[in-house]
């Protein structure tokens, strides 16, 4: 006979060893709010004292005044201890309520091999897996570009099936709808360039060259680049979100099962719309940026005539066309990255958010890379 009393809150738990049986007498309040509740660690400690584990674990809950999940989780953990030590857990010694609940909780065996696939892989395996997924993604991108090229080819040979109203709608949304934000960004860009120019040029008395700086920078680089950034964040993201949502709600599957090509019906109109509108927006941004520079120049004492005269001398059609040529490609890049991320979207609302983020990130990255490539090409061509 061996008795242990744990007197933390009025002898809430008394463990009595009687031969092969261990009796746990619980009393008092067993709720989550009860302070100093006995923990299963005490039972475990009790077990550790024995040379030979008890054959059965029995309970006496007659003294429990009130209980909630706290008691049940204690019992469940005792059940686990019994399972580990191959002690018999005497369910019948529990009163009706806890017994039924505990029976429910223990009737499904603890699922051992259902970890949510977060296996710990070693470094090499992780690198390999990452590399494989990158290769896979590379193929996906190639596949998408191939599909798009084929669709564009069919469009050029008048064989593509899509709806013109979709194109007009996209043109309206990505063109006219973007004007306010393009106006603001381009105007401020011209302003900023002019101020930066003034810092360098004023000490040399060359304030007039602000016109050269603003003009060249806007038409060659900043006009088209800022339009690209704005369109990527605005239109590219919206393409990805639209197509991603359509993917989640199976609208794209519905198109496919009718034997219609989602690339032609959904991607092509958006590509056409941006291909047409991007250069127009770029030209608009160029003029607004130059106007921004003019405001700064005039505030520093230059006249309108001086500024425009200097500008027309500095900026010729070659410079202007560089921006325009790039803008056609940038339009395609923004449309393609946005649509691609949308089409690759997974099957949950979180995936739509991810697709949108990826659309903007890859859109802007591709724009900058393309711009660098163009810079080298135009340099070689002495343009």
């Amino acid at each position: 006979m061996d008795a242990t009393a744990i007197n933390s809150s009025g002898e809430a738990l008394v463990m009595t060893r009687d031969g092969g049986a261990l009796c746990l007498r619980l009393s008092g309040s067993w709720t989550q709010q009860t302070p100093g509740r006995p923990t299963p660690a005490l039972v475990r400690a009790e077990f550790a004292q024995y040379d030979r584990v008890p054959e059965t674990m029995r309970f006496d809950l007659a003294g429990v005044s009130q209980y909630d999940s706290a008691l049940l989780s204690f019992l469940l953990q005792c059940h686990d201890i019994c399972a580990e030590t191959q002690t018999k857990f005497d369910l019948e010694s529990l009163p009706e309520g806890p017994r039924q609940l505990l029976r429910l909780a223990t009737s499904v065996p603890h699922a051992e091999d259902v970890r949510p696939r977060a296996e710990k892989l070693n470094l090499l395996a992780r690198i390999g897996e990452k590399a494989m997924s990158m290769v896979g993604e590379g193929f996906e991108i190639l596949q998408f570009l191939g599909d798009c090229t084929a669709a564009l080819f069919r469009f050029c040979t008048f064989r593509a099936r899509f709806r013109w109203p979709d194109v007009w709608l996209e043109i309206q949304q990505c063109g006219a709808g973007a004007l306010p934000i393009i106006t603001l960004i381009a105007f401020l860009m011209g302003l900023i360039l002019a101020y930066v120019g003034a810092v360098t040029l004023r000490p040399y008395g060359g304030l007039i060259f602000i016109a050269n700086l603003v003009g060249l920078a806007m038409v060659r680089e900043m006009g088209v680049m800022m339009t690209g950034v704005v369109m990527s964040g605005r239109t590219g993201a919206s393409f990805a979100a639209q197509l991603g949502t359509m993917k989640v709600s199976e609208e794209i599957a519905a198109l496919s099962t009718m034997g219609l090509s989602p690339i032609e019906y959904l991607v092509l109109p958006r590509m056409i719309a941006l291909f047409v509108m991007f250069p127009l927006l770029t030209i608009y941004a160029n003029f607004i940026g130059i106007a921004g520079g003019l405001v700064v120049a005039m505030s520093m004492g230059l006249s309108y005539a001086q500024y425009t005269h200097q500008l027309t001398n500095a900026v010729d059609l070659t410079h202007f066309s560089i921006g325009i040529i790039k803008s056609f490609f940038f339009g395609l890049i923004v449309a393609a990255t946005g649509c691609m991320r949308g089409m690759q979207c997974g099957n949950s609302s979180a995936a739509v958010g991810e697709a949108t983020t990826r659309a903007v990130v890859s859109g802007i990255t591709c724009l900058v890379i393309a711009d660098a490539v163009f810079a080298v090409i135009f340099n070689r061509l002495h343009m």
Binding site: R103, E250, G259
Partner: protein
Amino acid sequence: MPENELVPHISVRQLTMAYGSFVVMRDLTFDIGRGEIFVIMGGSGCGKSTLLRHLIGLLTPSAGNVFYNGVDFTGADQELRTQMLRKFGVMFQGGALWSSLTLAENVAFPLEEFTDLSPEAIRATVALKLALVGLRGFEEFYPAEISGGMCKRASLARAMALDPEILFFDEPSAGLDPISARRLDELIIELRDSLGTTIVVVTHELASIFAIADRALFLDVATRTMGGLGEPQVLREESESEDLRSFLNRGMPNPNHVHDPATGSPFVLPGDKPRK
């Protein structure tokens, strides 16, 4: 429909479905007869919808073939495939109506793309199809403006637009109230009886299964293959598979046996084993 009258419309041979290296179901071989209402049933996550997606070509089998009227669909080239797809109508789980189009435009879409009907004739057809699913007067509503059940019915109207030879339903009664679900069942039977359409339904609603199915295919999660094929009433009584009998009896392998709460958790389903 008695077995001896079966004229195969859809034939599935040795179909194995997998996501990467994870095999969902293997070695599925069955025929679906012309004008039959065929139910694909099974517990949650057993691959019912995946099988449907293989049948309609959204997913490619990792092995095996699907034939329609004896023509290989799986191995068909793009052009033949597109032709075959036009004879299908699919009602997706959530409706999958194009959210930028009104109901009328949704139903009209396939008509405009694949027929040379006059706008007047298209309008009349659209009105008919919407009336059939009880949505007359909702032509100008957008999918976001109507309830989920109405979306599903509108989706059925769209699926029926081209008078398809085969209609596929993915969980038609999920999310519908009992009365709408019942009406949809009646509509399905009506479509088969009046138009002779072959109908393939993925569902786990027992009431629906017993009400509509000529034959049912049970996908068994435990064995990862077919767990039974036949008339649901017969399967319920006579199937050798205990999992299947208990599926068709709401968890009680033997319906005459009173469910004893002491024998186990109501949450334990047959075949509810962890995935490897």
